[in-house]
């Protein structure tokens, strides 16, 4: 049996739980949520990384759909609710393939039924607009993790890619973490500053996740996790879900991206500008500086390291599909997971280890958050703290 076959066989029993997929945002941006215009029941390679045939081919058994909204919208809350509505409509539209999941038990039920457990994660504390009531509202609507920040700081937490302000979590930020614990919403530390990671690990009573982050020791990018934080996951019980984004996982791609951004700024454009003139400048750069290509092995290198530092019980996968322009060779879209599993088999990872990586750790972590929530709810009422009262 080739390692590809072995990988597919393993995934039939222990499918992938993926921590982060931006399909809802892609549907919003591309077709304003017109689900007929991007019917994921059929192949959508031309437009999306994600559709049901490729999820099936990739051995995906559970997906945290991101209900991400841009942080620079005047009000993130309504946009977040529309994202939630989109996920629900997707689930209602594809009942043979998708199943709404709110708990670890729901994930197991979906697996038994051969459907893809569909969970939701909010990406960035801006989605609660400094309100614990809104946080609970998102939980009631089915959101099961919240990334504390996106690329920008929020008032109560520092992002990895912004200028430090709170120095980690503020007092209200710690209250947000405690309230997430009480609800049973996982604290997601992807995107946050290392100081925020450490503060959150100090404050949390439940396991945390990194829904899509890799190892900083392998590739030095602020979006990745430093070793001291990876080392704390064992005691915390949480997990780091490795991401595939080339500009985070491949050092050459990190450097190339920095040079490309500098080139854009030197030509008077914002580094993320996508206007026709900006793209012309960018293409000229790319012609003389070929874009470095990440591969399956690049991602496997991260997992090897993360396994050493965090332990096999604290790993998972978070591809960030449809949230990134480029993907590694062999992991081009959601059908690529078997290639990663095959690579790890070739590197000597055992079947039980891989079962933890793909399925078991993620189910355990959500279940543990539910247990903590049940205990906390027995002793604590919902918090009505405000950012004004705690952060002054």
């Amino acid at each position: 049996m080739t390692s590809q076959d072995a990988a597919r066989e393993l995934l039939r029993e222990f499918p992938v739980v993926d921590g982060h997929n931006d399909l809802p945002w892609a549907l919003r941006e591309q077709v304003r949520y017109d689900l007929d215009a991007r019917d994921i029941a059929g192949h959508q390679q031309a437009h999306l990384h994600t559709d049901i045939p490729r999820l099936r081919a990739g051995g995906v058994g559970a997906q945290y759909w991101s209900v991400y909204v841009r942080a620079d919208l005047p009000d993130a809350v309504p946009a977040t609710l529309e994202q939630i509505d989109c996920v629900r409509r997707l689930i209602a539209r594809h009942p043979r393939d998708l199943r709404a999941a709110l708990t670890a038990a729901d994930m197991e039920t979906a697996r038994a039924e051969g459907r893809i457990a569909s969970l939701m994660g909010a990406e960035g504390g801006h989605s609660i607009a400094n309100s614990l009531g809104t946080l609970r509202g998102l939980y009631a609507l089915g959101v099961r993790y919240m990334t504390l920040t996106h690329n920008d700081n929020v008032d109560w937490a520092d992002s990895a890619t912004d200028v430090p302000k709170a120095g980690g979590l503020s007092a209200f930020g710690r209250e947000v973490v405690r309230e997430m614990n009480r609800e049973g919403m996982l604290v997601d530390l992807s995107h946050v500053a290392a100081t925020t990671m450490r503060d959150a690990l100090d404050a949390t009573a439940a396991p945390v996740i990194f829904s899509h982050s890799s190892a900083r020791a392998v590739c030095d990018h602020p979006r990745n996790i430093p070793d001291d934080v990876l080392g704390r996951l064992a005691a915390n019980g949480g997990m780091a879900m490795v991401t595939f984004v080339p500009k985070f996982v491949l050092q050459a791609a990190v450097d190339w991206t920095a040079a490309a951004d500098d080139n854009m700024r030197a030509n008077g454009f914002h580094h993320l500008a996508t206007t026709a003139e900006a793209m012309k400048v960018h293409r000229a750069f790319e012609e003389t500086n070929p874009r470095p290509i990440a591969t399956v092995a690049t991602v496997a290198d991260h997992l090897d390291h993360m396994r050493e530092v965090a332990g096999i019980d604290h790993l998972g996968i978070g591809g960030d599909y449809d949230g990134t322009a480029f993907t590694p060779d062999g992991l081009d879209d959601v059908s690529g997971y078997p290639n990663l599993i095959a690579e790890l088999l070739d590197r000597g990872w055992s079947r039980p280890d891989l079962a933890k990586l793909t399925w078991q750790n993620a189910v355990r972590v959500l279940g543990a958050a539910e247990d903590v929530a049940r205990d906390l709810q027995a002793t604590r009422s919902p918090s009505h703290a405000t950012i004004e009262s705690l952060d002054g």
């Binding site: 304003r32 949520y33 017109d34 005047p74 009000d75 809350v77 309504p78 609710l81 529309e82 939630i84 509505d85 989109c86 629900r88 409509r89 209602a92 607009a129 309100s131 009531g133 809104t134 609970r136 509202g137 009631a140 609507l141 009422s381 919902p382």
Partner: protein
Amino acid sequence: MADLHDEPHTLPEVGELDDEAQAAPFGPYAPLTAEEAAEVAEAVQAAHEPESTPLERARALLAMHPVADGYSGLPSALRHLPCYDLQLGESAVDTDVPRLRRGNVGALLWSLHLPEGLVADRAVGATLEQLDLARSVIAAHPEGLRLARSAGQIIDARNCGRVAVVLGPATAAALDDSLGILRVLHSLGLRVLTLTGTSWAGGEAGLTRFGEEVVREMNRLGVLADLSGACDLTVGRVLTLSKTPVLCTRSAARALRPHPANLSDELLAGLGEARGLCLVPLTAEQTGPGLRDVADHLDHVRAMAGPACVGLSGLYDSGAAHPQGLADASGYPHLIAELLRRGWPETDIALLTWGNVQRVLRTADFTARAAQDRREPSTVRIAELDG
């Protein structure tokens, strides 16, 4: 008959049921459950005993047909209280479980309208907070209150001795002009939406094209339209368009008291034709300073719209001043006694307090189920329809 009157009306044993039901004065053709038989017997006793006063008869009637109160401002009133206990009694507000029981209130619509001054661009988040507060208050009083998402769940709550809480009305601004947000709020329990204070209700047509789509999506979900405070054109347009009866959660008779939220005789008649529901507020401002003023409005609305289209709306904890004798949720029996003195038939009172609200909510459920077979969730955006 005598045995019926003299014996305490505990639940009859199985087997006694038929005999007792047939012994009742309403004849052998009304198959009733044991519970209903006992309740009816009790009410019949109260109503027919010569010495029973209108107040006693009112209480007996309310025991069978409690009040479904169309507008309670309690969530907002609790928002700023550091602590409260509705189960034992809470003097800081007009509403608590002991007074709801004394007033024979069986169901409450909890307003999620936003406190004055909450800026509109925060309306969605603020409404989520109101919903969170309402749900946590209900969760904190499991002995007294129960969240009801449908007419059937109101009956369930009543059978369990709980006051049913229906979430709504909320302000239309809470939709942020998005049908997706309407669906999300519905999934959190919202069942009534007030069609005022938005760009798509009002104006020359009463509703814009997007406004019409909102009403259709509300019908599809089972969210009732509240038209109190809407302009007459909007009321007329929604009455024509809606497949589900509409509510006016706080409207009295404009013929008796000019107030912008009160309804003209013409609109009351239109509401009656559409089998909608005018919930008459117990506020000095809209109905007058005395209990009899409220009764006058009820008489008038009943005459104009019909007995199947009138209901009650306490407006407790909304900040409004109440007529004398109706200062809190425990005052309802006095109002019902007044209506009995005025010769209201008991069947009409049963509709007024309970039956009409039940009918409207039940119709909304049925309409929604039928519409969901026919219509996909609408995702049209306001810019596409209203330009």
